[in-house]
Symmetry: C2
Subunit: 155 residues, 2 copies
């Protein structure tokens, strides 16, 4: 199978999701030439602001494989990932990503991924989201316990 076949499946999911009343985004995750999980944007349908197509597909792929580590997998998404989905892609250790529409196309239909990209690069105090550091000395306790824990599963 060629990469175009997998991208066309992601695109088909994005089109079907518009028909279903959801957001116009679809994604598939492929391992060893086979689709192991699919997702579409369920934000408004599921009342879940994190349910972008890529996050949905990553969660399902991890469940299907029984691991949080998706090394060896490729993500095909109908649109360039926003910072949330790009972060999820790194945390999942996905090897490679193909995308169709880009962030400018998304902004053109009212999805302002570009705004979030601009915010993420700013230092916390400069963001439009008000961010305040609080009780860092107390917060350190869990990190200390983590370092001492013999049972921890690092990732």
């Amino acid at each position: 199978m060629t990469v175009e076949v997998f991208m066309r499946r992601a695109i088909a999911l994005s089109c079907e999701q518009v028909e279903a009343g959801g957001g116009p985004f679809g994604a598939v995750i492929v391992r060893n030439g086979e689709i192991i999980a699919e997702g579409a944007n369920e934000v408004t349908l599921a009342n879940d602001p994190t349910a972008h197509a890529e996050v949905v597909a990553i969660r399902r792929a991890a469940q299907a494989l029984g691991t949080f580590d998706l090394s060896g997998c490729t993500l095909f998404t109908s649109c360039e990932p926003c910072p949330m989905c790009l972060g999820a892609t790194y945390w999942a250790r996905i090897d490679q990503l193909f995308y169709g529409n880009d962030r400018r196309d998304a902004a053109g239909i009212g999805f302002d991924d570009e705004f979030i990209y601009r915010e993420v690069v700013l230092p916390p105090v400069a963001r439009s989201l008000k961010m305040t550091r609080l009780l860092p000395d107390e917060a350190q306790a869990a990190f200390d316990a983590w370092c001492k824990s013999p049972d921890k599963v690092s990732y």
Copy 2:
């Protein structure tokens, strides 16, 4: 109640999660002076690379309120959010965020949020994750359908 009370609850969740064998991160979401959702890092326990404390809390808050829009809510997290969680915070329209540990503290115990922050700002072709644009003309179909759809729920 003061903000310290809510931060201490987020910190308590982070400490309890280490005991439970999970990652050392906790978060709570507050609305009108009341905690409406709590979360802790479930990545390794739930085999879900997206299950950071903030994402878990945001998903639960949205379920509790029956909406994807968490305007009017404040997020208290035991550690500065990574790009995935910061993106989720923006998409959820959370008003304000308090954090305890920061990304340097997290890097110090092996959680490389800082690496992902550096990657996110790069253009797609310059990232360590290989990203390739594919079939943009075909991907546009869902965006066209979205624009024409009378039933769409924008967000």
